[in-house]
Structure formats: structure tokens, C-alpha cells
């Protein structure tokens, strides 16, 4: 691909030599302001989070800050309870992630590698189920959690997310595993390896790029879940950061500075993940779109 790009560039360059710098200048003159406008909500969140409430009420939201208060963050963290909410989010997300990735890699291996009755039906059930609107599951899942005495515990969210996300993960992993060349398995089989050993020693290591991509994506999804936390967890001390923020909003109704300091704290884990693992994150999304 690199060669065709270079070829294309020189071809264009020869033809439109004098226009290229001007076109590039226009390109940036268009995109930079567009991005700045696009990110106004984010800049304003930062600005508001460090202002005092008096400053906001007096000068309006759209003015340069005349105050700088980092204690908004500590207030959201301790008084607002974000320290607890944040910890809860990790307590829920990490085990759920382990459940859905390990189980879906088993399912994906089976669906990618063996031809058997029901293969495609099971595969399509996983994919179709992962696209359902959540409302069709809400009442029964709520009842089931109650029956199993899981309601209002971390486990309700851990198990539900772990189970529900199997659908999407199996979809992505199965398609990835199908691209692994078959000779690898034949060689292992001739060596007398059991299917489980082939799975563990060959397929999982070879699928690590896809598993890493899924892990970053699924972490973000489970971490950002609001609906299920709303339904399955009641006690304030168990709430993850999403429903926690919503109750912070009720608690500090007009105190936008505290709310925004809270939202900024709440997005730190997923933003860091995105910044450092952007490549994996994007791979996960594009693999998920089936392309």
C-alpha cells in the first residue's frame, strides 16, 4: 500500500505542483476551527470545573474564569462520594471483563474451528442477541437477580455484563480466529495435542491482538454503563460512577462546578485507556462493524 500511496502523491504533485501548499493551508484552516468548535463542550467543562459558584452566577457560564478552585475536585471526590463510585466501577468492570473474554474465546474457538450441527445458528444467536434493545431483557433480568439473591450486589452487574457481552465478543473473536491459518492446527494435531491444548497454546496467543482490542472496548462499555446500574443496584455504596454521577447531579443541583469536577474525574480511566491504547480501541470498533 505504501508504494501506491507514494506513486499517487508524485503523480498528483507533478500535475498540481503549485496548488498543493495552498490546498494544504486551506485544509488546516478548515479543520482546526472545526475541531475547536467541536470540542467547546469539553473546554467549557474544564473551565467550569475550576471556577467558584459565585464567579459562575455573577459572570455567566460563557466568560473567562476569575476564580481558580481546585478544591471543587476534592469536594466531588470526598463529599460527592466519587472515591467510592470510582472504586465500585472497577470492582464491577474487571471481573465482568474476565468473564466475557474467557467464555467468548471458548465459544469463538468452537464456532471458528469446528463444523457441526447448529454452528451458524448459535453464532447468529450470539450476534443477534448482542443487538437487542435492553428493554426486552430488563424485567426478567431484574427478577432473576432477585430470585438468585444477587439484586443490589456487585455480582448482579458483574454476571449480567459478563454474560451479555459474550455475544459481541464471540462475534469478533470468531471472525478473527477464522483468519488463523489451518496448518498451525494440523501441525499441533499431528503432535498429538488435545483440542483444549490447541486452544490454550496456539489459538489464544495468536488471538491476543483481537482480545486486547476487545478488552479496551469492552472496558469502556461496561465502565460507562448506566442503564443496568440503575436497575440492578440500589445502595449508594455500591453504585458505579455513572449512576453515582447522576445522584451527584441531584445532590449538588445548581453547583455545576462540583458536578463538572465530578464528570472530569469520572472520565479519567476511559480517556487514559483511549489515549494509550487508541490503536486497539479503534481496531475493536472496526472489527465489530464486520469489516
Amino acid at each position: 500500500m505504501a508504494t501506491t500511496t507514494a506513486h499517487l502523491d508524485t503523480g498528483e504533485y507533478r500535475k498540481k505542483r503549485n496548488w498543493r501548499p495552498i490546498r494544504i493551508a486551506f485544509y488546516y484552516l478548515f479543520l482546526v476551527p472545526l475541531l475547536l468548535i467541536w470540542l467547546i463542550p469539553i473546554f467549557m467543562t474544564f473551565l467550569t470545573a475550576v471556577r467558584s459558584l459565585d464567579d459562575i452566577t455573577l459572570n455567566g457560564p460563557f466568560s473567562w474564569p476569575t476564580s481558580f478552585e481546585l478544591q471543587n475536585f476534592s469536594q466531588a471526590w470526598t463529599q460527592g462520594g466519587l472515591n467510592r463510585y470510582m472504586l465500585n466501577s472497577f470492582i464491577i468492570t474487571i471481573p465482568a471483563l474476565v468473564i466475557c473474554l474467557s467464555l467468548s474465546s471458548l465459544a469463538a474457538f468452537s464456532l471458528a474451528r469446528f463444523r457441526f450441527k447448529g454452528n451458524l445458528i448459535i453464532y447468529f444467536t450470539f450476534v443477534g442477541g448482542s443487538l437487542l434493545p435492553f428493554q426486552i431483557l430488563m424485567l426478567p433480568v431484574y427478577r432473576l437477580a432477585n430470585t438468585l439473591n444477587l439484586y443490589d450486589t456487585y455480582w448482579a452487574l458483574i454476571i449480567f455484563h459478563g454474560a451479555f457481552q459474550i455475544g459481541f465478543c464471540t462475534f469478533v473473536l470468531r471472525n478473527f480466529m477464522r483468519t488463523i491459518p489451518g496448518e498451525i492446527f494440523d501441525a499441533a494435531r499431528i503432535d498429538g495435542a488435545s483440542e483444549f491444548r490447541i486452544y490454550r497454546q496456539h489459538v489464544v496467543p495468536l488471538s491476543l491482538p483481537a482480545i486486547a482490542a476487545l478488552a479496551t472496548l469492552e472496558f469502556t462499555w461496561i465502565f460507562n454503563d448506566y442503564l443496568w446500574a440503575l436497575i440492578l443496584v440500589q445502595r449508594d455504596e455500591l453504585k458505579p460512577v455513572t449512576t453515582g454521577l447522576a445522584s451527584l447531579q441531584g445532590e449538588f443541583i445548581r453547583a455545576y462546578n462540583i458536578q463538572f469536577a465530578g464528570t472530569l474525574i469520572a472520565v479519567v480511566p476511559t480517556v487514559l485507556l483511549f489515549v494509550f491504547l487508541q490503536r486497539y480501541f479503534i481496531q475493536g470498533l472496526t472489527m465489530g462493524s464486520g469489516k
Binding site: L103, P133, P140, R178, T179, F185, T242, F281
Partner: protein
Amino acid sequence: MAETTLPTRHTGVSGSTHKPLWRDAHRLTPYVFLILPVTLYSIWVIGPMFYSVWMSFTNSDGVTRQEFIGLDNYQRLFQDDIFWTSFFNNIKWLVSFITIPIVAGLGLALLLNNDLPGTRFFKAGFFSPMVVSSVVIGVIWSWMYQPFGLINEMLAALGRDGMPIGFLADPDLVTWSIIGAALWRQVGYVMLLYLAGLKNVDKTLVEASRVDGASSLRSFRDIVLPMLQPVTVIIVVISIIDALRSFDLVNIMTRGGPYNQSNVLAQMMYIEAFQNYNMGYGAAIAVVLALISIVFIFAYLRHMLKDEMEF
């Protein structure tokens, strides 16, 4: 997708087929791998789906004994004004989701599909709203839409006179306002999917057409667009499913108000089932919502099935 096929292993080797399945370890293997994930998925996803359908035919309210009442919930639903308001709001979401992000996302993807310095940064910037939770987006946009919030103040600074606009209070505006916040999130996502799609476009073909004297507009229309058609189909279906799932922003920004004017089916179902304890009725709303989605889910699966047949 790469077309290299994993030679699937035929487990039903002749000779072993005479044994019943449960005594044939060889043929049993794929099912063993599937037992745990399929069980968990059936209990928490597939089973509940069917149980909701059953609940929608009952008068379940958490107090009286749950009894079968046939189609009563549905009859009541189709006469409920709130249902129709929510339904048409879902249509607004749907239409917005399959137009604006696709045009804007494709436009951004075309602009950013090059190796100029800084494009990586631009991509990350436009995509960044997708990384934060919808709760955060709801909190920020609620504040921006306030009577003396960011948008009204900006409009005033630009010279707009008169009463501040009630973005979340005006019944005619409220749904569009929430959709606006949702689109801010969606555009970056669609951009990313198109960027992936553009990677598959054969550059030599585009180049050849340019050498032959085609204008850039023509080579885009006749070569690039048709090659983007498969990814567009997927984006449209995903966008529709996302639009039907819309709940978080409505729940956080307005709870469906004022007077249900911004309600959507997902939020209406939540209120009926979990606030008013009309569980049977709530289940009926969920079933209607799911039926609409399933039409598009099947379209998506059919699209995928065609790919499977090519293997």
C-alpha cells in the same frame, strides 16, 4: 475482511457417526467448548427475551397474582397517547441518526484519510465524545442548554435578542435538543467506521481514473462511493439499532419531559415497569420496541449470512 479460510475440521468422520453423539468424544468436542458460554448467555439474554414476551401477556404489577390477560396490554398500548409520542420521537431519533452522522462522518473521513501531519490528532479529537459515558454527556449538555447556559449566552454574544431559548423546556425543541447531544457523540463513531472502509478502497483504481481525466468529484462518485456501499449498509443498520436503544440521554436530561414530549419507547418502558410497577404493560412496550429492532437485526444477519456463504 480477509478471505483466508480456516479449514474447518469435519468432526463427523464416517465410521464414528454410528455412535450416538454423547458417546463420541470426537464429535462432542465443539459442544464442550460451548457449554459454559451458551448456558450463561441463555440464562441472562435469550431466556429473558422470551420471558418478556410472556410477561407482556400478563397483568403483572408486583402485587396481584400474575395472570394471563391476552392482548389487553397491547390494546391499551396502541390507545395510549404517550406511546405514540414516544414512538414518533424514536422515529425522529432514527431519521437523524441515519442522515447527519453519515454525511458528516463520511465528510470527515474523506478529509482525514491522508498522511498529512496532525490527522491522527484530528481523528482522536472528533472521536473523543464517544469515549466518555452518556451520563457525562447528559450532564454537560443539560448545562449547555440551560436558559442562561452556554448556548444561549453564545447566541446572545453573537447578537441574538429576546428571551433565552428553552432547549429542554420547549415541547417542540426538546427532542431535537437531546438528539443534538447524541449526534455529537455519534459522528465520530461513524467517521471511524468510514475511515476503516476507505482503507479497503483500491487507490490504484482511483488514481487510474484521475489519469484518464476524470474529475475528483466523478472519481469519487463512480469509484469511491460504490466501494463504500457495504460499510454504509452496516453503518445504517448499526445507527438504527443505536437510535432505537436511546435511553441514557433522555433519562438524564429530561426523564422524557416536559409532558412526555421528549419521551422515547425505552424511557417509557422504564417508567411504566420500574416506577409505576406496571410490569406487564412495560413488557408490552419492550416487546414492541424489540420487534421493530428485530426487523433490522435480521436485515443485518442476512447481510452477514451472505458473507458466510462466500467462504
